[in-house]
Point group: D2
Chain length 250, copies 4
């Protein structure tokens, strides 16, 4: 089997516009996520950012990608509909998609799930504690029963997503809310994962448990098949039917 | 509680263009579906068709609808994106949606679910037998363990939809295929139902079991709440946090 | 349709052995749960307690019950296996079952679900805040987005239950844990609900939101069908088969 | 990582009592299932049969097993409750369990799932065609969109099991029924799989697709963690609580 081909998309605006964020992620969030994946997996990892042509996500890049990570926040509206359509189609065809933090209202995520991504939020330097619900799941391999992030943005329920196929972690927040923080869904032949932490102003992607989950997600969501789900296909019967050569009405 | 407000959308092209289909549904499929709902429920039922302005689905109509039925086949592409967006938003806000038969690749259905609706199909006048998986579910109230449709179009797996929240019926086809024929999902505050049978060339919507399921679907998917899931909302903490008045970065 | 027949089972030991608990529930927890159901539903409500013959749950009582509530804590082991078997079979046949609080390790609950009910716990007079995930679900009819219980026992994840068919509320605890507090599963033809709050030392069952959920649960889990799922049945073919009269081997 | 430890349990009565069955499986069904696993996986495979002491499933054997296959039919009642309890506890603790064909009413399967395993059946030498719903799932790796078994026993819905966490294959039967033929559930830390085909009078376990699924199941359900889910544990608070040293009532 060939090496896992991972593409990390990052909006890459905060890190260039804010001294505070640049101090946390001097090379960009995509660099940190890339290193988290690379340090555990034998994978080909490339990155893509919003202001590149086609956001760095040309058809050739997407075709060569087994799993795509997505971090965006302030410029969701700038993502072109053509790229959203391309990503969506690729997911249905078998590409994995790992949506991070503020990607909960990205065009890609809401298109793929069909929901709004609505939630409550607050930025108050508060503590988040994540609890594992399924220690035997590959996404939680090596993760303790709970771990803490000393400061994070708060996301609170109700999180408007479809029922997860797999609900893997719940977050407790100091300010009184809870959240479904690690979820997975199948869409077409592709696996979609949402992982909550990762506000740009905190060093969340350097936390070792968070990094482990990023690597686990790349492995778990990696492509297993490739099939274009285009138009429904007309088929001949496998058993005798009354009118096998019938012209279709309509 | 006010009466259930049901809107039946039908493309209404086959019935006007084909003598064969008009012979089966002289007043249009929407009329037959309407009567199936009305004969069992105390509901306000209206209809809407493709060639009306805004397909008969103005914002006022959608706002006044508790559950929307959708039958379309040959002209999915003619449905305006604005109406699709309006219906999608209404579902997230609590409106029910019942998608029938060839609506499996309608813009509305694929948008709401995020999948392609791909499947295998064949028109050969063959027999379909539907099996109940959950006789205790409200959608199957009054439905026997199995029932037959002597002639139907075949739809076969793999049906490209998200895992159903509720899988209620499976179909057996004479030609050798199987299908998940009655499924339900929650999207936002709305309930989405897919019910397979209903090809325009057969009198399926006059079958008493099919009619019962249509009425059950109207009741089950009827609106229970109304809330616009617009932008995520910023909230104050319910418990003490380190930095309650912090300015949001970004 | 006949009135809903509700049976409330309570261990009824704490209230007789502890002055503190008796002060909270002078007539027993079963009396409080009964009144919560009766005040909203037109139902026949009876009660049953551990020290009655057959725990008050004779075959005749179970046969006449549409939904059974279960509160037990310190004497799970005293519940006879015959009654557990009777309740289990009734659930498969269509009776609803609403398991409360410390019933998470009752014989009835673990038998019906097939899991251990394992969790973390602590009694420290701490605050619990319950968050609604599905405001459009009948179980949460009339319930706000969140509500608080000033003092409760803490139950924390990982809660060892099968994936809920429906996950409806999550709890936040002052001491740092989270919990899936309102869940539902189908078993056979019966609906099983687990609702977390209700430690005997706090007046939880007098909280108006908790009471509303108890009444909602009685209505939602009420019997819809009655069928004894005994031995699998041998059936004749509905379509031609090669060897219709074959003797079964074995 | 150490090699996967697989144990194949077979009742092993039909093969000794029936010339017909012995002609199909001269070394027993367990030998055929073992070879299917061994030919694809680097695993330690052992077998166990009903008439051995403790059915060959001593505590030491179970402790050393990562995934247990179960084939039984005519002597479910002979399986000791102690062994059932041992297997159940092991599953909750992380051991995989793959239940085959007539194991649908085995004590082990019904205990672990909490349902009756009820279904319709018929033995008429009829054709079964299995359809894949999730070609991207590890259980279906290498399996075509559909495959046929020329002769099999029929099992038809309604199959009384909890909603599968994963529904992977549906069967079409010549005589007119359908069935959920490949399903998976999580129980505790263990993965439970049910795979329908495998009547003792047909050479089903020599079919290459069936064999591939057996091997896939061994790999997918293999143990990932080991934890005894005994009594719930009392924990100290992670955050300040009002009454941290409180004595537990009851």
């Amino acid at each position: 089997m060939s090496r896992l081909a991972v593409t990390i998309f990052n909006e890459f605006l905060h890190e260039r516009e804010s001294d505070l964020v640049r101090a946390v992620y001097p090379d960009g969030i995509h660099a940190e996520v890339s290193s988290a994946v690379s340090e555990r997996l034998d994978a080909d990892v490339r990155t893509a950012t919003l202001r590149e042509p086609e956001h760095g996500l040309t058809q050739a890049v997407i075709d060569a990608t087994d799993v795509l990570f997505w971090w965006g926040h302030k410029a969701h509206a700038e993502v072109s509909d053509a790229v959203v359509e391309r990503v969506h189609r690729a997911v249905l065809g078998g590409m994995g998609l790992v949506v991070l933090h503020s990607g909960h209202v990205s065009k890609v995520f809401t298109r793929v799930l069909g929901t709004s991504g609505w939630l409550r939020w607050r930025e108050a330097d508060e503590k988040e504690r994540l609890w594992s619900l399924q220690p035997s799941h590959p996404l939680l391999d090596g993760i303790p029963e709970h771990f803490e992030l000393e400061q994070e943005e708060m996301y609170g329920e109700r999180f408007d997503v479809p029922e997860p196929d797999e609900l893997l972690m719940l977050s407790w927040f100091q300010g009184g809310e809870v959240f479904r923080s690690l979820c997975s869904w199948r869409r077409g032949h592709g696996r979609v994962i949402y992982f909550r932490p990762g506000h740009e102003a905190y060093p969340t992607y350097r936390n070792r448990h968070v990094r482990r989950i990023l690597a686990n997600a790349a492995a778990y969501a990696g492509r297993r098949v490739r099939q274009d789900l285009g138009r429904p296909i007309q088929v001949e019967a496998l058993e005798p039917v009354p009118n096998p050569g019938k012209e279709h009405v309509g």
